[in-house]
Amino acid sequence: MKKYNVQIILAIALAILAYMAQEEIIGKYALSVLMFMGINVILSTSLNLVNGYMGEFSCGHAGFMAVGAYVSSVLGVMLFAKDKVFGPALLDPSLSIWIFPLIVIVGGVAAALAGLLVAIPSFKTRGDYLAIITIAANYIVISLVENIDTIGGARGFMGMKSVVKAMGKTVDMPWMPIWVFIFTILSVWIIRRFISSTFGKGVPAINQDEIAAEIMSVNTNKMKMVAFMLSSGLAGVAGALFAYILGYVNPGSFTILKSTEVLVMVYLGGMGSLSGSVLSAILFTLLLEALRPLQIIKWVVVPFLLILLMQFRPEGIMGNRELPDFFPRLKRFYAFKD
């Protein structure tokens, strides 16, 4: 019984969320903030895998997010919506509730493959060079999208709302919050499993000392590839969900500014701390919303807060530790170090 505590709590939380969204107890605005929170959690935890646990410096996370967003959007619109370019829906709209998660996963897989393309040449080099390569990759993705006219180019791409509507018509439920919730939990779970597995221990080993890792029989090249693909793949999942929440994507949403936002979340939470990343993603989303009345001055205040953080707590909120290290009682529910 005790073993299932966490699952039960999560299931109840999901049920409450779905109920409140359905009965419109929480407004549309609050709901969208909650959903963006979930997406930010996926983004920051997945980037933490590369930047925190592995100690490399990737700063093109938004590029992979764009790949996931566009691939899943085009696929979804092609299958379930009437579109000028892609013609009538290929499948019956009632199938959409089954196919939708697959579409999101396909977006993630596409982003993982894009991650592989970046990983192969870049891991011959190290440190700063990876940062430069990932920035370049981010720009390449954006320019590619801007120049393909079939998917709207710089104007952006829309039609995803009708896919979401098709799901709602088939079974009347608030599908988007449910899927965002499920995918958020799923990706945090995957990263946690990966990091605490024997195989995944190779990732922090690379961070500490690559030579030592190699002579301890860790296949460092493969390990880097796997971690990078997992990270970019989850970014793609986040991008796909992002596209369907807004119902509209344009390349402007995935610029280097977005990548920087994700980086800020990782450093705010603490490198190599999963719960720190989750916490910081939640705080950061709330902070951005709270500062919304300041409008453009917001981008003065947020970086300033970052400077203060680096001055007074450079290791981030959690440092290298996890929540149960601070609150031992949590260990009952959630043993972090296996």
Partner: protein, 241 residues
């Protein structure tokens, strides 16, 4: 022959570091490779291990065979998991923020036999009682000598039967040096084959069965330890007198 190096020529970019050296190590032996700074000792070792770039030198000619099979193009991580060769690298390379025990267990990354790992751990603690005392201490808080013991212990934890050591005596006090070398001797008596790369020629030759003397990328002398110790040329150049 367990390890055979044939006519090895190695380059770093345009600079040739080894001009065709050959040597071999037989099962159960301690062989030492001695020489001054820049003689090519570490280059030889890195050619065997193929550590990740930029450390990896380029082998332009010659072959390295282990149990009759060329290991020139194998990846370094397979040395442990496939060939049972473990390396104690120069400068130790231990994981500083892990405890002693965590360092030791991490070395069993590729091993599946839980019982064997347990036995091995006891054996390492028996060889180095000092590691047992410091079991739960962060390894960066150990002294240099203890860190070197940890590096050797960690290599043993992989379950290897061939140990490569790169300058294990570097930065150690004389007393600790002797302690470490005594342990190496004992390991050899238990059946471990050892290739020792060392600057401290007299210490190395007193431990080893056979030795090779490297000089600016060429083999200057070879023979049993006694021959080398008594060789006037070697004596003058490396043993000081």
């Amino acid at each position: 022959m367990l390890l055979t190096v044939e006519n090895l020529k190695v380059k770093y970019g345009n600079i040739q570091a080894l001009h065709g050296i050959s040597f071999n190590v037989d099962k159960g032996e301690i062989v030492t490779l001695i020489g001054a700074n820049g003689a090519g000792k570490t280059t030889t070792l890195h050619s065997i291990c193929r550590l990740p770039p930029p450390e990896a030198p380029k082998v332009v000619e010659g072959d390295i065979k282990f149990k009759g099979e060329s290991i020139l193009n194998t990846e370094p991580h397979t040395l442990v998991s496939v060939h049972n060769i473990a390396l104690v690298p120069e400068g130790r390379h231990i994981f500083g923020n892990l405890t002693v025990k965590e360092n030791l267990t991490l070395a069993t990354y590729a091993r599946k036999d839980t019982a064997g790992i347990k036995k091995q751990l006891d054996h390492v603690f028996e060889l180095f009682p000092r590691l047992k005392e410091r079991e739960n201490q962060r390894s960066e808080s150990l002294s240099g000598g203890e860190q070197q013991m940890l590096a050797v212990g960690r290599a043993l934890m992989t379950g290897c039967d061939f140990l490569l050591l790169d300058e294990p005596s570097m930065g150690l006090s004389p007393l600790l040096k002797y302690e470490l070398f005594r342990t190496l001797k004992r390991l050899n008596q238990e059946g471990m084959t050892i290739l020792l790369i060392e600057q401290n020629a007299s210490l190395a030759l007193h431990l080893a069965h056979r030795g090779y003397v490297l000089d600016t990328g060429e083999m200057a002398a070879e023979g049993t330890s006694e021959e080398l110790i008594n060789d006037p040329e070697v004596k003058r150049a490396y043993l000081g007198g």
